[in-house]
Assembly symmetry: C2
Homo-oligomer: 301 residues x 2
């Protein structure tokens, strides 16, 4: 296995035509040195998300080749879907996994952004790859969406980092970034009132005065007749899973509501959960090197 | 990296003469397909413990070659040390790590035991490799130690599983076993009275009516002026780390004593700690396949 591993999770604005999605994913399958961990399409969102791991070279090549096919097959002029989006190759984040620094992922984002620019796509670098603080947050970058960018792109404040400073009608724009792994973590409550979950979410998340790296919203789980605080932890090393969990318990008490369970969505780095074990078990001087699997990953043939 | 990985942790009755220890470890260094994770010698115990990971074939070869050198260099007739022992190649446990079943580790223990027997060493199989329930527990097997085995070995109940049914004066006996990974986990208390730690240990451990797969004892930490419940969890999947931790907290309450911290000693499988995260965070339907590092280990080139 490669000693340097990067995860990248391209989001494409096509979630209904499976044949098109397969053609895009095929471009990754052709490349040696990477592995597709999974991919899924959502028809309501009309969007596909692919999770790929590989060497810096392999993910760079995949990001470029997949985009070449995607901008041929996807036409934003006829795209409709529930998920915010502003381009065919909507979002392309790179995340360090093993033996790779964040700076290296920023370099990859720049190489990929430059290539997209040469393909005629206006590119915005975001998160750790951002060139201005105002572009760090993906939601801020994408605000206005495809339809709004015909105007937004003319604003000198929103001149793209790569590519033309005019909107690409067919393909829209792309956000290319480098970021720490995002942890999707949901907490379920013994309550059926979505307003309670919303209120708790507001107290837990950054914009409500809560944890800096937590985004949260209330969700109704119709089948269970319960509500959920659905969160994205965008930096689990700084705003930890156990902190978010304890804050929700704390706020729920105000309503006489209890936590009945939680769920981790998608792939999660072991450290995000080991930090919880470390906290609750009060482990002193915890060292990730004590974890057998970490040692195994470091073994060379 | 090999797809099948076994951990083995041979314990040799030599912890003072570094040259001899190096010669024994050198035999492992010569073999392709294995990695020495670490090794340490203790002069008081006069004992060395090596932690090695490799393919089934490589660990079998290493176990045999290291023993050949050890029985040349170590003479039990002059061995003294604080740790219980009954032979030069005192204990050799094999543990499944990845892509290997316990049955395969039992088969390795038998192959190694047979080879040791042919080298003239009486061999007892223990834990999951045991041929009788009375031999499952290493402490029961080794009871009487080197000095006592000249008599004990004559008892038909203690006829070795492999090798001669008479004591090997120079090399003693060997215990060869297959077992799940052992987790060494200690919990520190805000109390300086060892009797309290002893009393708590008794309630937590199997023989005192506590958790089935937990061994525990009280220890005085002189430098900290605190006491500790020192535990071995011999099957962390059945008697979990978080259970042991919560039981100690519960028993400590009786004395008005609090847990101030804990420590994990040596290498630990991530699952042992992830089970604690799962418990405390109340994660529903937790699946180890969600852990990025587990997926990485399953990647093939």
């Amino acid at each position: 296995m490669a000693k340097k591993l990067v995860e990248f999770v391209p989001n494409f604005s096509e979630g209904r035509d499976k044949e098109k999605v397969e053609k895009i994913v095929d471009e990754a399958r052709k490349i040696k040195g990477l592995k597709i961990l999974d991919y899924s399409s959502d028809a309501d969102h009309n969007r596909s998300v692919v999770t790929i791991i590989g060497s810096p070279e392999a993910v760079t090549e995949a990001a470029i080749n997949m985009a070449k096919v995607a901008i041929q097959l996807i036409d934003m002029r006829t795209h409709h879907g529930a998920h915010p989006r502003f381009g065919a190759v909507d979002v392309v984040p790179f995340t360090p996994v093993m033996g790779v620094t964040m700076d290296e992922c920023v370099a990859i984002a720049n190489a990929v952004g430059k290539a997209y620019g040469e393909m005629g796509i206006p590119v915005y670098l975001y998160e750790d790859a951002c060139t201005k603080e105002a572009r760090r947050n993906l939601a801020a970058v994408r605000k206005g969406q495809y339809e709004g960018f015909f105007e937004k792109i003319k604003d000198p404040e929103w001149k793209p980092d790569y590519g033309p400073a005019v909107m690409n009608e067919k393909s829209g724009c792309s956000a290319v970034g480098a970021r720490v792994p995002l942890v999707a973590f949901n907490v379920n409550l013994d309550c059926s009132d979505k307003a309670v979950a919303d209120a708790i979410a507001k107290k837990v998340r950054n914009i409500g005065g809560g944890l800096h790296y937590v985004k949260a919203m209330g969700v109704k789980l119709e089948e269970r007749n319960q509500v959920q605080v659905s969160m994205n932890l965008v930096n689990y090393e700084k705003s930890a899973v156990y902190q978010a969990f304890e804050m929700i318990k704390m706020e729920a008490r105000r309503y006489g509501v209890n936590v009945v369970g939680s769920e981790v969505i998608g792939t999660v780095p072991m450290k995000a959960l080991l930090m919880a074990a470390e906290y609750y078990l009060q482990i002193e001087n915890f060292n990730l090197d004590e974890i057998l699997e970490k040692r195994l990953l470091e073994l060379e043939e």
